[in-house]
Amino acid sequence: MSQAIVITSGKGGVGKTTTTANLGVALALGGARVVVVDADIGLRNLDVVMGLENRIVYDLVDVVEGYCRLRQALIKDKRVDGLFLLPAAQTKDKNAVNPEQMKELIEALKEEHDFIIVDCPAGIEQGFRNAVSGADRAVIVTTPEVSAVRDADRITGLLEASGFEKPELIINRIKPRMVARGDMMDIPDIIDILAIDLLGVVPDDDYIVVSTNRGEPAVMADTSRAGEAYRNIARRIRGEEVPFLDLSEKETIWSRLRRLMRGN
């Protein structure tokens, strides 16, 4: 059974695009047929992060408006078997597509692929409505900052109102040292507020910047800690039980986290 997963956040710059690209690659490396969809119409950049920018001919809006067939717009990633990108239009605005069209598009993609990962634009307006329509599952990305968590909460509410019963959470850019010093919101605090299931924690990792500039998502490198975290998240998405990376020197946080995750 194929599933469509939308990657949301509310606040911009917390790592949605990074997450979409890395999960797409990790799931495909695991043997699945995957399409990553850039729903950030007018502000596309998933193609850049994936290193596929120079191969774009048609885009999502072209498909929706009937200028090309879906297949023509899909860009095959030559490095990873079974991985495709559906790029966003750079020039048109986000009202070029409506939620019904988006839903049809996702349905069509599901016919031939196992996972459809949709990179959602920041904010809560039309672009958000488009990106979430047609998705079976919603993932919320936040960083351990009060403002990002606040927006994640807002998005959780909107997702719940749109019928997503159990949105899942990825906490990105954790800096274990800062958490240990008490300078950063810690994971139990965040889960306490958002009250949703934790799908994974991704450490802050300079390699992400390197990989973004090279157009090679971090999961392609064995040495990246963030890449390892994304590989684990991909396995959890496929239903495997994978223990959380021990990022912290402070054992107590993690034992508390495990307790929270078991729901007691």
């Binding site: 809560i124 509410g157 719940e160 109102a161």
Partner: protein, 246 residues
């Protein structure tokens, strides 16, 4: 006026009119109402008061409560009045089931009941059927707002950026981290109770209180906030004395 569409919103000076076709199947009405609200969510920002108008059929109390809940959460709209056109006198009422039951006599909500002035001959205000207390189960999240004419009980947390407003008391069976305004129409005896009281701001009547700077409430015990001599005072719920206690 014949009701032709099942769900219609209309702005007016009095508030937002919600006109529902009570002849339609109630499940269909609820679904359409939800859809309508979802589509217009950003349009309704500022949470205007809603006046529900039905045709001659009317809704049962249970149905009105369901409509009220849909409006209040997650859309933050407050159902203020219900207008129900009475049947023309010569026709006999045929469907008892669908008409609105009248208020139990013990607690008529006069303050609400006296406001309707439009079309007095055809309109009977039955706002009195709304109960004193709204029970909400679940987390109230950032950007969501629950406003109620009466008291509110939340079984769940009220997060930062969320707002609960009640003309009566507010009880949070969870952590109150957002904004709570009890006694919102001036009731200075109103109180806010929470299992953990860590609000960004508290308001009781027209008094605004903020937790002391920097000090994150250490207490993990249930607390109550009330007005004492014009300031908001927070104390442990255990052993608290209410007016009328002896």
């Amino acid at each position: 006026m014949e009701i032709t569409q099942d769900v219609v919103f209309k702005g007016s000076r009095e508030g937002l009119y919600l006109i529902l076709n009570a002849k339609q199947d109630f499940e269909v009405i609820k679904e359409k109402l939800r859809e309508h609200l979802k589509k217009s969510e950003f349009f309704f920002k500022g949470a205007p008061d809603v006046i529900l108008e039905t045709g001659e059929e009317g809704f049962s109390l249970d149905e009105i409560l369901e409509i009220q809940n849909i409006l209040a959460y997650p859309f933050g709209l407050k159902l203020k009045k219900v207008k129900h056109r009475e049947k023309a006198p010569k026709r006999e009422p045929q469907t008892e089931r669908r008409t609105v039951r009248s208020v139990p006599q013990d607690k008529p909500r006069e303050s609400l009941g006296s406001r309707v002035t439009e079309r007095p001959r055809y309109t009977r205000d039955i706002t009195g059927v709304l109960p004193d207390t709204l029970l909400y189960k679940g987390t109230v999240r950032s950007g969501q707002r629950i406003a109620y004419d009466g008291s509110v009980v939340i079984v769940g947390d009220v997060n930062p950026g969320a707002e609960v407003r009640a003309t009566g008391d507010i009880v949070v069976m969870g952590v109150l981290r957002g904004l709570a305004h009890a006694g919102a129409e001036g009731d200075t005896s109103a109180s806010v109770v929470a299992l953990r009281l860590e609000p960004t701001q508290l308001r009781i009547g027209d008094v605004i209180g903020r937790p002391p700077e920097g000090e994150r409430s250490a207490g993990s015990e249930p607390e109550v906030a009330r007005l004492r001599d014009g300031t908001i005072v927070v104390e442990p719920l255990e052993g608290v004395r209410w007016e009328g206690d002896r």
